[in-house]
Symmetry: C3
Amino acid sequence: MNLNELKERLYVAVVSDVLDQMGYTHQATRIPFNAYTGIPKLMGRCKTTLWADMYDVDPNPYDLELKAVDSCQPGDVLIAAAGGSDRSGIWGELLSTAAQNSGCVGVIIHGGVRDIDKMRAMQFPVFATSRNPYDSQNRQRVIDMDVTVEIDGVRFSPGDMVMADEDGIVVIPKAIEQEVIQAALNKVSAENVTRDAIKNGMKATEAYLKFGIL
Amino acid sequence: MNLNELKERLYVAVVSDVLDQMGYTHQATRIPFNAYTGIPKLMGRCKTTLWADMYDVDPNPYDLELKAVDSCQPGDVLIAAAGGSDRSGIWGELLSTAAQNSGCVGVIIHGGVRDIDKMRAMQFPVFATSRNPYDSQNRQRVIDMDVTVEIDGVRFSPGDMVMADEDGIVVIPKAIEQEVIQAALNKVSAENVTRDAIKNGMKATEAYLKFGIL
Amino acid sequence: MNLNELKERLYVAVVSDVLDQMGYTHQATRIPFNAYTGIPKLMGRCKTTLWADMYDVDPNPYDLELKAVDSCQPGDVLIAAAGGSDRSGIWGELLSTAAQNSGCVGVIIHGGVRDIDKMRAMQFPVFATSRNPYDSQNRQRVIDMDVTVEIDGVRFSPGDMVMADEDGIVVIPKAIEQEVIQAALNKVSAENVTRDAIKNGMKATEAYLKFGIL
């Protein structure tokens, strides 16, 4: 099953439930991310960047962020770990255009974005925690890329599968990827059976006793 | 006038104004609730649940929440007082399906919800303060139901009339329900007169002097 | 070029960038404003009001807010500097109706608004930081008008040009207005050239080297 079919069949909550049952109980973010460009679902592999605030003139403006977008591979999701900083809008139209050209399928920004209406017109998937009109130059910059980063206590490693939807964001560690995906597909089927039974009039208490799912 | 007609004619701000004038000045919430499933108005009678965070294995998972949804009566609005906890998504698709089957007309959740796209597809009214992909099992549970609860300092008692719209949420204490509804219907008419006068060119200062309404 | 054409051609981020380059680095708000009535862009001249919380009976309810809306001039944007207070909904349908009659083209409220569905039906542009069902009477009032006010550390002076869009809000000081507008129009053209080059396959690193814009 390819990435697009998986994106259609699965959703963040069911992947999180499966990870829970396997003992991986810190794989999803709880803080609110907004799908600012109106595309409510995203799936791909983590291409990570680590950002820091700065307060002086940048000797090499945009240096590593340009390298990061230019080195995206098809299916990558660019992750910007900026600690939720509200110092500037670190992601906008030009970086989106460049990332999309490199095959990037969307971005997850723990911080501010700008040019929202232009990125919506591009139909580029953007999940972020805030909006901010300020340019990042001399305010924030990428200090490392292709390293493990953390957002809201969740670790994103290069190449990990990541999924975002309206409920939140979940990361699947690479080592257990196949097992998680198979179990999640199975749980989707079981949830459908439970929901249909309730829809047809079975009480929730009885349905949970019978199917063990909620 | 039945519940649906009242829901069409009244709105939260006008009910809050009438309660204000009767000396009930703490009947509305100020914290932001989102109508996550896109249905911007809700009216019914409070069916209350009280939630607590937990950090160990639950011996009876989902016990009281299943009882609560299975015992809803037609016209009930399920209230989840969870203190705004961000520990999990305590409300989702299966509970919505069960509650709807019992006649519940919508929910107000002071905490996290999940399965948002599925609940939107069901057209089930959901007002909540946050989104969260984590299952509630072993994280949060209902510790009491059909008791008076508080959300943002406002008391919700079983059977009280509750209304939610884009401006917020207001509760009408049962003892003064008829009086409040009649006064609110009267104020809606008076506001229409004032607005039409201003629309036709009367200055706001003059309109307030003449009609005493803003 | 008139106000409406400028509003179409410019946007908050590009105006902020130009101000940045001229050394005006605190002209935009970072806190989230919502376009509650669904109109995502606003441009005009600041008509300022300063609000304070109150806790007793107001001897002259609505006094200065009525004067403010009645004295708006065509093209004015009413600014309500209320410190982000969540005490009440200080702006609603009747004030919107009166302001619109005076030529006001929209409002920016650092605080709560109510009657959101009615203001949306009016198609009146409302940017605000929160929603609140409570009447402002005996809770908040205007204590001064037509004075310089601050929102999120940004100064709004009477007659200053102000622009709001999905990215945020920016104020152009009157003394440098013509210079800023001309430079912003130039930067929009330069951004279009850069974006088209990237769209046509130029790497972002190369495009930044060549055009000096991001």
